[in-house]
Amino acid sequence: MSVCIRNNVQTAGTGGPAIVFAHGFGCDQHMWRHVAPAFEDRYRTVLFDHVGAGGSDLRAYDPAKYSDLSGYADDVVEIGNELGLKDAVFVGHSVSAMIGLLASLKAPGMFRSLIMVGPSPRYIDDDGYIGGFTEKQIDELLEFLADNHMGWSAAMAPVIMGNADRPELGEELTNSFCRTDPDIAKEFARVTFNSDNRADLGKVTIPTLILQCSEDIIAPLAVGEYMRKQMPNSELVILKATGHCPNLSAPDEVISAMRSFV
């Protein structure tokens, strides 16, 4: 199977250097719809869905391969190879920041810089480290996902009608956005919230931009500080935007921070 079909790869823009946008835990590549077009004039933009999300091929979901972030990073490398990417920019939201970091280590030369939006190398607090969640809370989340399957499945696949206020969002888009196979979502949540990539931070030598929101319960400010210290070639920018998805809630601020970095 072509990796481009498997990961629903969409490219746009000029033939300039490539800029890859990766979505995090939750929705799909549409997360970047207010950000990616701003780079089409000078870059070749590459968007994709992780296997299990959005328009990806659900049949390609292999629980063993995707039992840690490394499997997702392998997909990024495969996409990069397929498109012949070299010296590209990788932009990862949420957990995809770490997926991109792993991919950059697996395929040196593929990416010349990393942009991380709301990243966290470790969500669970640990001896002196603040991740924002206790182990018990993450267990609670996973338990909740396990026994409230139907509630979440109903919640995550709401009946979506035509959207008169936003005619630009076609029905196809609204129907697929944030809709995840409940079993895969459960597994992706487990992989995401149990991941620990703190030891990988120091291995990165390429320039890295860390974009942190002012108030983000998923990735608190302390996490951004920690990452900047661990990554010698990194730069931390605290956005005025709040929440976990500044790419949707404050796209202009994200775009301008990205522009001044690249």
Binding site: M156, C178, C245
Partner: protein, 389 residues
């Protein structure tokens, strides 16, 4: 209330005490207004809510999902419907709700504020849990049923295989008996007939001697075939069949002695028959039994020493065949009557090892036994059976 019966709706009251909770959030997600119903349900006073974020009142899973799924969904679509969340009340209890949200934007598409309606979903959540439990039970039941069906099918397959192998065994047995009965006996009969013809023609001494030898071999072979045939019937399911009569047994016993004497002319057979009472038996089978026992005695006996045959009818019918010679090894004793069991024999003496087995089967069919005593002086095989079965 007006005279005409119209109710003048109090919009303020409608907002505060509507049958659902109302929340208004600023563009950055902070609560700016909450109605009385929401306060009543959650146990918070309005000023405890203002300025907080919605996720401050959600359980941990709800917080994460709100930030990763529903907030983006709201931003993308401008609304979301029927999102299941658990509110945490002031007293720590969980309050299951369904939430609808709509975003208000300015002309440029920038969000101005967000309106949420919150519906009590306690019963619905219970119902969903029951459905879930029912689904899990059904799944478990289905799994169990599938397992049970698979077991039954496997069992059926196994018994089908066993049945068909039994059927095959039965067919094989019949073929085997047919081969013995027909394919072996018939050529042997033509050899015997040929030998009789040759006997009558003029032959030199050497040829005559050869024919005598060959005739003995034919008799021996015929008896081997009889034994094998009986073994096949008896062992494989047909059983030894008897044709009972009370006709005297002496003639058949003498006939056997005659046959075996002719093949063992150098041996002496001492006969002591005292059959004073009638015996109900199959004379042909008794003859076969006697032939097998006497044949053994002649084979294993010491050359020059007589084989003694004693027959009595007192309380029961007793037929005893004794010979001198090496005793039967105690170890061989136990297996003496098993098919294909043989003592230490010289190659020339080799039979099929079926003689004693057939003899004991014939004894059993008559309700009798064959007992063996073996000392360095004498080895005796004794048939004991009731006069009437």
């Amino acid at each position: 209330m007006s005279d005409s019966g119209h109710i003048e709706e109090d919009l303020q009251d409608l907002y505060e005490n509507a049958p659902c909770g109302y929340l208004s959030l600023s563009a950055d997600g902070r609560i700016v207004k909450a109605n009385q119903t929401f306060c009543r349900w959650t146990g918070y006073a309005p000023d405890e809510l203002i300025g907080k974020r919605l996720h401050d009142f959600l359980n941990i899973a709800g917080r994460i999902f709100y930030e990763t799924h529903f907030a983006p969904l709201l931003r993308m679509q401008g609304f979301f419907n029927e999102v299941a969340l658990d509110l945490v009340k002031k007293n720590g209890e969980t309050f299951p709700v369904l939430v609808n949200a709509a975003e208000r934007t300015d002309r440029a598409g920038r969000p101005q504020f967000i309106r949420l309606t919150v519906f009590n979903a306690s019963d619905r959540r219970r119902y969903e849990r029951e459905l879930l439990r029912a689904r899990d039970e059904l799944k478990a039941l289905t799994t169990m049923l599938e397992k049970r069906v698979a077991e039954v099918v496997a069992q059926q397959l196994r018994s089908d295989t066993a049945l068909s192998s039994q059927r095959q065994d039965a067919e094989l047995r019949e073929q085997f008996i047919a081969v013995l009965g027909h394919d072996l006996r018939n050529p042997l009969a033509s050899i015997a007939a040929g030998l009789r013809l040759l006997e009558r023609s003029k032959l030199d001494e050497q040829a005559e001697a050869i024919i005598v030898l060959m005739q003995k071999t034919v008799v021996r072979m015929a008896s081997l075939i009889d034994n094998v045939l009986d073994f096949a019937r008896g062992r494989l399911g047909g059983g030894i069949t008897l044709t009972l009569s009370t006709q005297p047994l002496e003639p058949v016993l003498w006939q056997v002695v005659g046959e075996l004497q002719s093949t063992h002319p150098e041996s002496k057979i001492d006969m002591d028959l005292a059959l004073t009472k009638p015996v109900t038996a199959d004379p042909v089978r008794i003859g076969q039994l006697f032939s097998n026992l006497l044949g053994n005695a002649l084979t294993y006996g010491v050359e020059g020493k007589p084989v003694t045959v004693t027959a009595r009818t007192e309380d029961q019918f007793e037929l005893s065949i004794c010979n001198e010679g090496n005793p039967i090894a105690p170890a061989a004793m136990d297996r003496l009557f098993y098919p294909f069991a043989r003592g230490e024999v010289r190659p020339s003496q080799q039979g099929l090892g079926l003689g004693l087995y057939i003899a004991s089967e014939i004894a059993k069919a008559h309700g009798g036994t064959i007992d063996v005593t073996s000392t360095p002086d004498l080895t005796c095989f004794t048939l004991r059976m009731p006069l009437q079965p």
